[in-house]
């Protein structure tokens, strides 16, 4: 707590200094000179302080800065500060500093210019501190006392019988009471008094023990006492004190009544009461052990460690590079060991700086609670993924932006209770913060179920503020309009409140997040809510990168930006309007030549192979031609000097293994500069990426194109396809009527798509059969096709208006041809095994004997889904009983082998002994898989054997057995 306060103070002081600097610069300018940047600087400073003060619950500071800000807004239109006000503001800053350090200050909020000033004695707004300021020692003493109480309470939790602790507790509380009275802290003295009296009877009655509930209430009270000793005291502390005293009352009584009950009835009363803490000693002991395993370390030390680690990685790289040139085996061996150890060390070192994001997120519970109180709304904060870890510096960096977003969500997002009920939503609004890892990034979603963003309002405001002009407004997409929120000086709140609405904030959020290499995006559905997504890199220091060569220089490209590497003959490069492009799997990939980007003369024009690095920038990919692809390496990112940041080709530099410096290419910057995606398009593409609304048309779909016995090409969606295989036609076997092939130790069912669609099978006699191995609904299929042609990726929408077969999803209409898209799920449905054996009236009945509940239930559910009626039994004995009860009415039995009471072998022998069931198919379903086991099972009387690991095939096997049996009977 004190750490946090210190941090907060340093931060505020820094911001104040900035404001001061800007104010002083104003002073240098002629009177009423306009300077929007300076004005914004001051304004933002006050706004930030106000916000932070609100979060730290320093009401006095908050209202003071709010006043300053209010006066400042008066001159917003001119963006200038009148001379006479500058000194007023400077004094205001001094007062702010005084408030921060709990000093007395005197400040007049009157802003009349001194010349016209009628003497107003400092109008009572002066800090009204009590005459007798308690010495600083008082506060530190009180805090020490509170700390002692807390630790005593926690110890007492694990050992309630320790009378010494109780005495200590009592003593400390008593002395706090005394000191509070002395210095006029009425609230805390009352509170400590009731804490004391709640302990009184416990102390007197030596045989009774403190209860859990009591301990936690006391802990709460201690927290509250801590707040009492803060200066300035938080608002409404008196109310909270009264409430806390009420909470403490019952404990005075309970203990009293316990005493009154006397010794004779004590066992009964103890039984009724909450469980005594003493009954959980083991648990608390564990906790205390845990605290011993961690130590506190200076952050600066960790930083130093990280830097050294970075250097060590460099040295390791140098050693590795050197070792590749030498033949010394010993050295090679050692350098490899060094490599492994360094990598591990690096990983662990990184972890030391990782902290759960919950450290920040949990604070928002309080923020939201307090805000909902002051805004008179009911808001619930739900946190997911608080354990998600990221680098400490990044946690620090996202704290402020997150605070802004959460405050905004409370203020603008969530509507008032009545508005919510009218809209048919629950009165309580919900803000959800979800943090998770995705692709080397930490994603933080902050969503509310409030009113969402209103397009019209946003546009109106933006036009008013001159951010956009009316002509453009209509052309803007919803996402662009939402993006306006991030424009500086933008706010749609009709009223400026204490919480937000002055239009400082979201632009800062955006710039802060982007500074640490993250992205911010907003999406919103009017009436349903707003979602803000932050994408934050895990760490900034070390990134995996690809090293490439261009001319004589080497460059690093961060792996996250890298999609793939392509090596092609120069001849396949085509030109559109003189611009080089490359057809990557049928799609046009725009190409940039790194040499041209860097302004290097393209001297050698070789006709050989060229290397293309496919990069991703926001939504689109592009290819970059490089001279050579060298290696991947973990590089330590070194920032460039500030004045070089404007050169958008590079994002940083790194020292390579051989000690040379290489630039890190700024993929986003290159794309923006050379692909003509300006700021506006950038805005759109950013929002496109995360928006979940109406993305269907834009989504890239991929298909495998195949030839069947039809003139049109057919396409199978790639997401179903697991592999493409060529098999010898002779290796196809029959399982019953089903054509199968042995595949990865199991059997793969082969479905001829020609048969499904009723096409002519054109190449029946060819030696090779081409199969597309697809996974549908957890079933593996081999779709037999005539020829696999290509993979197609397209953004084209599927035309579903015309289809000639139920297993056709629709048509892809490309420029040259029409491609039929196969509905794989429908094919799966059509060829599902259960369709075959549905011969006799009613459903086939299966007895399933299995002792593991979870397996039995899962198998039963699968079989039921496939249309069978399943009877379950937990072992052979119950199985036999079921058989007898139901008069042998089963078509098939599935049995485990290892079972209690009666195992599978005995069970099956018994069944085979029954006349009625002599020929029933019985499937052994077991984990055993040696051929000896299978032999044993067969000789015991099982007709088929299936390993549990191939459980997916069970339904197939069942249908096969049933069909076979039918045929046998016929």
């Amino acid at each position: 707590m004190t750490n946090e306060l210190d941090e907060f103070k340093t931060e505020i002081l820094e911001v104040l200094d900035n404001a001061e600097k800007a104010l002083l610069e104003f002073d240098q300018l002629p009177d009423n000179h306009r300077s929007p940047p300076l004005y914004d600087e001051v304004f933002r400073a006050y706004h930030n302080i106000k916000g932070a003060a609100g979060m730290m619950e320093m009401a006095e500071l908050q209202s003071h800065v709010h006043q300053l800000e209010n006066v400042l807004t008066l001159s917003k239109s001119t963006a200038s500060i009148p001379k006479h006000l500058i000194s007023w503001f400077l004094k205001g800053n001094d007062a702010t500093r005084a408030l921060l350090s709990n000093e007395k200050y005197s400040f007049s909020y009157d802003i009349t210019p001194p010349g016209e000033k009628i003497v107003i004695p400092d109008s009572g707004l002066e800090e009204s501190q009590s005459d007798e300021t308690p010495p600083a020692e008082f506060f530190s003493e009180m805090n020490d006392g509170l700390e002692k109480i807390t630790s005593a309470l926690i110890k007492i939790e694990s050992d309630a019988s320790d009378r010494g602790l109780l005495d200590l507790l009592y003593r400390e509380i008593h002395s706090i009471k005394g000191a509070s009275q002395l210095f006029g802290f009425l609230g805390s003295s009352q509170l400590s008094h009731s804490m004391e009296s709640s302990l009184e009877s416990l102390k007197r009655n030596t045989s009774s023990e403190i209860q859990i509930g009591h301990v936690s209430t006391l802990l709460l009270a201690v927290d509250l006492l801590g707040q009492c000793f803060q200066r300035p005291a938080p608002p409404e502390i008196d109310k909270e004190i009264n409430f806390m005293m009420k909470l403490l009352e019952p404990f005075c009584e309970v203990v009293m009544s316990e005493v009154q009950l006397g010794e004779h009835d004590r066992s009964v009363s103890e039984g009724k009461n909450q469980p005594s803490v003493a009954s959980h000693p083991s648990q608390t002991n564990q906790d205390s052990d845990k605290t011993d395993t961690s130590i506190r370390v200076q952050v600066s030390l960790l930083d130093r460690l990280m830097t050294l680690m970075g250097e060590m990685v460099l040295v390791r790289n140098q050693v590795l590079q050197y070792s590749s040139k030498t033949d010394d085996l010993e050295f090679l061996n050692l350098s490899q060991k060094l490599d492994v150890v360094t990598s591990e060390l690096q990983e662990e070192t990184m972890k030391t700086r990782m902290q759960p994001i919950g450290n920040v997120l949990n604070k928002f519970q309080r923020v939201v609670r307090d805000l909902s109180g002051s805004l008179d709304k009911k808001i619930n904060l739900v946190l997911h993924g608080v354990e998600t870890e990221l680098d400490k510096t990044l946690i620090e960096a996202v704290k402020d932006p997150l605070t802004h977003i959460v405050r905004n969500a409370c203020d603008h997002g969530i509507e008032q209770g009545i508005a919510r009920t009218n809209a048919g939503k629950s009165e309580t609004g919900t803000i959800t913060i979800k943090a998770y890892h995705e692709g080397g990034l930490v994603i933080v979603d902050i969503s509310d179920d409030g009113q969402g963003l209103c397009r019209e309002k946003l546009i109106k405001k933006a036009i008013e503020k001159g951010i956009i002009d009316a002509a453009n407004a209509d052309k803007m997409s919803d996402r662009e309009v939402n993006g306006l929120i991030f424009a500086p000086g933008f706010s749609t709140a009709e009223k400026v409140t204490n919480v937000s609405g002055r239009g400082v904030g979201m632009d800062v959020v955006k710039s802060n997040i982007e500074r640490i290499g993250g992205l911010v995006d907003i999406s919103s559905v009017p009436g349903q809510g707003t979602k803000i997504t932050l994408k934050i890199p895990l760490t900034l220091a070390i990134v995996p990168a690809m090293i490439i060569r261009c001319d004589n220089d080497r460059f690093a490209i961060p792996q996250v930006k890298l999609v793939e590497l392509v090596r092609v003959e120069k001849s396949v490069i085509e030109y559109v309007q003189g611009i080089p492009v490359f057809r990557l799997r049928g799609n046009i990939l725009p190409l940039l030549n790194l040499k041209e980007i860097l302004g290097i003369q393209n001297s050698v024009d070789n006709d050989g192979a060229i290397y293309i690095v496919v990069l991703n920038s926001d939504t689109h990919n592009f290819g970059m031609i490089v001279d050579e692809i060298l290696d991947t390496a973990d590089i330590v990112v070194k920032p460039l000097a500030k004045f070089l940041k404007t050169i958008s080709v590079y994002s940083g530099a790194t020292v390579l293994g051989d000690g040379n410096v290489a630039f890190i290419l700024d993929v986003l910057g290159i794309a923006q500069k050379h692909l003509g995606t300006g700021a506006h398009a950038d805005l759109r593409s950013l929002s496109d990426k995360y928006s979940d609304i109406a993305t269907n048309e834009l989504e890239m779909r991929e298909y495998v194109l195949v030839n069947l016995g039809s003139k049109t090409k057919h396409a199978i969606p790639l997401n179903f396809v697991s592999r493409m295989e060529e098999v010898k036609t002779s290796s196809i076997e029959l399982s019953g009527v089903q054509r199968v092939i042995r595949y990865r130790g199991g059997i793969l069912k082969i479905v001829s798509l020609n048969e499904v669609f009723g096409y002519q099978h054109s190449k029946k006699d060819s030696e090779i059969t081409q199969l597309i191995v697809a996974v549908v609904d957890e079933n593996l299929y081999g779709f037999e096709v005539d020829q696999i042609i290509d993979v197609l990726s397209t953004r084209d929408a599927l035309d579903c208006s015309l289809f000639s077969h139920e297993a056709i999803l629709g048509n892809l209409v490309t420029a040259e041809e029409i491609i039929v898209v196969v509905d794989v799920e429908k094919v799966h449905e059509l060829t599902r095994p259960m369709k075959i054996p549905k011969t006799s009236a009613g459903r086939r009945r299966i007895l399933l004997v299995e002792d593991t509940d979870s397996i039995r239930q899962k198998v039963a559910a699968e079989l039921t889904n496939s249309g069978y009626e399943v009877e379950e039994a937990i072992d052979g004995v119950e199985g036999l009983r079921k058989i007898a009860e139901q008069k042998y009415c089963f078509d098939l039995i599935i049995s485990d082998i290892e079972m209690p009471k009666m195992n599978g072998y005995e069970f099956v022998k018994k069944i085979r002994g029954m006349n009625q069931l002599k020929n029933i198919p019985i499937i052994a379903f077991s984990t055993k898989n040696s051929s000896a086991d299978i032999q044993l099972a067969k000789s015991a009387g099982f007709s088929s054997y299936l390993e549990k690991s191939k459980g997916k095939l069970l339904t197939l096997l069942v249908s096969e057995c049933l069909t076979k049996n039918l045929r046998k009977l016929a």
Binding site: L598, F643, L644, V649, Y650, N660, F663
Partner: protein, 158 residues
């Protein structure tokens, strides 16, 4: 009384300052020695393409990366590729700059008494980088102001 006091101060406590000197195009310049981290022989420079001509590239200075600035180009003097550039490494505002100069001179100690403002007639392209001049026995030393170099770099790259 006042005049007496001030003259006494300057007389008794006249400050000496040390400057690291170097030449560009035959002219003598100096930088406050406290701001110079080191002076080195020519180092391998990784070219920074697309950057303005005065940004020569980056230098690996034992793990730290310094930006190499060609003072000739920054001062708008005619580029001279015949000379292998020596480097003066300085730290300004946390930015590590490696200034490429023609030759390295001695560290000289001069008295405050010998300081004078930059003469009015110095061309603007160099004057903006100058803090003033020190008169020494055999020459006049032009003092480079590192802050103004950084400022100018920021301005020209923006």
């Amino acid at each position: 009384m006042n005049a007496y006091l001030s003259s006494a101060t300057s007389e008794n406590l006249s400050q000496y300052k040390q400057f690291s000197t170097f030449t560009i195009d035959g002219r003598l310049y100096g930088i406050d020695v406290m701001k110079v981290q080191e002076v080195t022989k020519p180092l391998q420079v990784t070219l920074m393409r697309t950057a303005p001509s005065f940004v020569k590239g980056l230098i690996n200075l034992r793990g730290q990366i310094a930006t190499a600035i060609g003072l000739r180009e920054l001062f708008n003097l005619t580029p001279d590729i015949s000379v292998v550039k020596m480097t003066v490494v300085c730290k300004v505002d946390d930015v590590l700059l490696s200034l490429l100069v023609d030759t390295i001179g001695d560290v000289v100690e001069v008295s405050d008494k010998n300081f004078e403002a930059t003469p009015q007639t110095i061309p603007a392209n160099i004057k903006i980088f100058m803090q003033g001049v020190y008169k020494t026995e055999d020459s006049i030393l032009s003092i480079i102001n590192l802050e103004s170099i950084l400022q100018e770099l920021n301005k020209r790259c923006a």
